[in-house]
Symmetry: C2
Subunit: 232 residues, 2 copies
């Protein structure tokens, strides 16, 4: 594994506190690979052979059932995914595919479990990570069950605006069809939802979104830290 990738992985909160020898043991047999866009990295139901780390690019976690499909999360650098499946030695619950050209580090799941059994500080870092993941999904669940699609979109845009630096105008960073899937609606409905938010001061031109009246939009969206704050 190249030195830069090695350092990137090492600097993740999940790995930064562990002993050097633990980290070495972890990375034995690990490797980095470049993937083009739209490659399926893992398939739900498969056994978890590798813990994945997105070094660059982005990855879509999705799931299918009965001919339907839904996006559950987007993984951006630098972070891991499918940690829970790895540590439980259980089948993946979600599939993953690259959204763009991406660089992924693959760490043998066996190593993760073995090191985890011996290194308490790694176990502690894992707890922090998993608790965070868990809380994120709970928030997503609340978003989905308590809000209409229009409210979900409004809050998504406010969150995205903050993440993008808070400027009035910003770019959507994914295809609208995928955004629709993430928000739990159809592409057609997303189109209409964008128009439905115009009265609250929203302008959309392609992938460029402008919030002309943040106060009005927030009054409609009613963002709540217990749903919309990524950090807490």
């Amino acid at each position: 594994m190249p030195d830069s990738a090695f350092k990137d992985v090492r600097n993740l909160a999940l790995f930064s506190q562990m002993a050097d020898e633990s980290f070495s043991a972890l990375m034995r047999g690990a490797f980095v690979q470049n993937f083009p866009a739209q490659i399926e990295l893992i398939t739900e139901g498969d056994p978890s052979d590798f813990l994945h780390v997105v070094l660059s690019g982005s990855v879509d976690l999705f799931s299918a059932w009965n001919g339907r499909e839904t996006s559950l999360a987007t993984i951006r650098p630098i972070s891991t995914f499918i940690l829970a499946a790895t540590v439980r030695d259980a089948p993946y619950l979600m599939s993953a595919r690259t959204l763009e050209k991406s660089r992924i580090a693959l760490i043998p799941s066996q190593n993760v479990r073995a090191v985890f059994d011996n290194d308490g500080s790694f176990a502690r870092a894992m707890v922090a990570e998993l608790a965070q993941c868990y809380r994120s999904v709970i928030k997503a669940q609340k978003d989905l069950k308590l809000r209409t699609s229009l409210e979900r979109l409004a809050n998504y845009l406010l969150r995205h605006q903050r993440r993008a630096g808070g400027a009035r105008s910003f770019e959507l960073e994914c295809e609208k069809r995928r955004l629709a899937s993430v928000l739990g609606m159809t592409p057609e409905n997303l189109s209409r939802a964008f128009r439905g938010l115009q009265p609250y001061g929203l302008q959309v031109d392609g992938t460029r979104v402008t919030i002309t009246n943040a106060a009005e939009l927030e009054k409609f969206a009613k963002p709540n830290p217990l749903i919309d704050d990524a950090t807490t």
Copy 2:
């Protein structure tokens, strides 16, 4: 804390492997309390002062936003809840209330965090627990995003039947209005959904459900281990 409760807590997978002195430190200042039905134990947004353990009875985890409310999970003995908030020292994302007369052990969150910092085997048990919780919510998310309400009900009933021993006829163990909330629908719609499943061999009389034609119901419900298996 009474001896029996002490043992019940100790026997939980989360606590059974840790050293005796760690467990003692954990239980310092812990206590057991009996609550009547419908008591709000914790409120979302509050700081997490205690890790809760349901010893008997049952607890509803729910959340509210903008005048709406939804049930997210039911906790049955013997298990803990709000572990993630406790370990992250973060505010509760959900509220909790007793569904019936319940016996709850309360363990100071400070203890949990302190012991967790020192006892690697406790950290490892916590990882297993949190990974399990995380995967459960992912499954719930898939259930909600990939299925219609009728399909969710059908699969819920098949799951419940298995959990209840597999007999053709079994009792719903919660109020229908709460079941509706868990399944992400209104009580009125749940009523109609029950009728909507009659053609697939379902009979309902009050809280008693009879599956007269399991094959037919499964053909409709298309249960999937990656959504419906509690264990994997």
